[in-house]
């Protein structure tokens, strides 16, 4: 039965209006009982859960407002993700995470914090003293807006300690060490402001 805000009509008597009015009340109750504490309960108006049907196009936020919604993160996870969006900014898909393998065989993982900070991390193996580069701008991944703020690396395994460095741009991470004659495995973490638009 449809909700009808046009009733009762002028000529109707209450016995005629009773049914459509009750149907309206039932629709209001039904709608409000979905995701919300039931009308008439102590916590009426509060949320039991918030279900976000997928949206397209994505909603925008007015001034002095922040919106939360779900949308498909096309070409990145290709899943429905939960976004948070400020006025004048892109939505941040803060439930999204994924990984891909670059040309050098390194799997690069990524995820967002709700602030829009992007983390890319993983493990790169067989790093020679001449260094090894990791692709930070893989297709299907969000990228950094400018040079990342930090690039951290940690030597893995039981190999002899070696001095090393990690250096990142918005497109690549390079790790190198001075343990002559050996290759090593490193964990890495690169962090900076992210652009959620997939490369």
């Amino acid at each position: 039965m449809p909700y009808n805000s046009g009733i009762p009509t002028g000529p109707q008597r209450l016995k005629d209006s009773q049914r459509p009015m009750r149907e309206n009340f039932q629709e209001i109750q039904k709608a409000f009982s979905t995701n919300h504490v039931a009308i008439g309960s102590e916590d009426a108006g509060k949320h039991t859960v918030v279900v976000f049907p997928v949206q397209s196009p994505e909603p925008t936020a007015a001034a002095n407002q922040i919106v939360m919604y779900s949308a498909k993160y096309t070409n990145a996870t290709d899943l429905t993700e939960l976004y948070v969006r400020k006025n004048g900014a892109l939505g941040i898909p803060f439930t999204a995470r994924n990984s891909a393998v670059d040309a050098g065989g390194t799997r690069v993982y990524w995820t967002f914090l709700p602030s829009g900070t992007l983390l890319k991390y993983g493990e790169v193996d067989t790093v020679p003293t001449t260094g090894k580069t990791v692709d930070l701008k893989l297709v299907t991944q969000p990228s950094f807006s400018g040079t990342p703020f930090i690039s951290l690396a940690t030597l893995q395994g039981t190999a002899a300690p070696a001095d090393f460095y990690a250096s990142a741009t918005d497109t690549t991470l390079t790790i190198s060490h001075n343990h002559s004659g050996s290759t090593h495995t490193f964990s890495f973490l690169v962090m900076g402001v992210g652009d959620p638009t997939p490369t």
Binding site: P8, I66, M68, Y165
Partner: protein, 190 residues
């Protein structure tokens, strides 16, 4: 027209009550269609979007509840509206969408309330360099859980020689310009 839950009056005839009843139905429909699937539709009651309008001050949560809301974060130099989580029955509030930068330090929060501070430091070695973790106009730490550093410009061994809620000291044994990334995770105070 204003929603009037007292309508209709008992002594009113329907021809008199008609208009306020219709107004109430229209108001209910208008209000609920904002952010929600329409009455009697396939998404009735579900949230198309959740729009958080700026609130004045922090919102408290009762036992067993968590609250999401928007209010300005006044600690940074330029306060912006941020989305906050209010934790169960406490006075802990976390601005989960906030982030900031100074010349020394970048920072952001995790939804758990943990604070990440991180950055890149350049100094002349051999020797140490101090990084403040308690700058004004930034959130601070009440406890430090973890820290890490890595050389960024040469094959050096950079170490953390001291860390507290107020500062971090890095050291390198090579001569010349040293640059290192660092990151600290701990319990944040917004």
């Amino acid at each position: 027209m204003t929603y009037d839950p007292t309508k209709p009056d008992a002594n009113e005839s329907l021809k008199v009550s008609q208009s306020p009843i219709k107004d109430n139905y229209a108001d209910a429909q208008t209000a609920f269609s904002v952010n929600h699937g329409a009455f009697a539709g396939p998404s009735s009651g579900l949230h198309i979007v959740a729009t958080f309008v700026e609130q004045i001050g922090h919102q408290t949560s009762a036992k067993g509840e968590r609250v999401l809301y928007v209010t300005p974060y006044s600690t940074p130099v330029t306060p912006l509206d941020e989305l906050w989580i209010s934790r169960v029955n406490t006075t802990t509030y976390t601005p989960i969408t906030s982030k900031g930068f100074s010349s020394n330090v970048a920072w952001t929060f995790l939804p758990t309330g943990e604070l990440l501070k991180y950055g890149q430091k350049t100094w002349t070695g051999p020797g140490s360099s101090n990084i403040p973790l308690n700058e004004v106009n930034q959130p601070t730490f009440s406890e430090i859980y973890w820290a890490q550093t890595t050389s960024n410009n040469s094959k050096n061994l950079i170490s953390i020689i001291n860390i507290s809620t107020t500062g971090l000291s890095l050291s390198g044994n090579s001569t010349g310009s040293l640059t290192a990334s660092w990151c600290v995770l701990g319990k944040g105070v917004s």
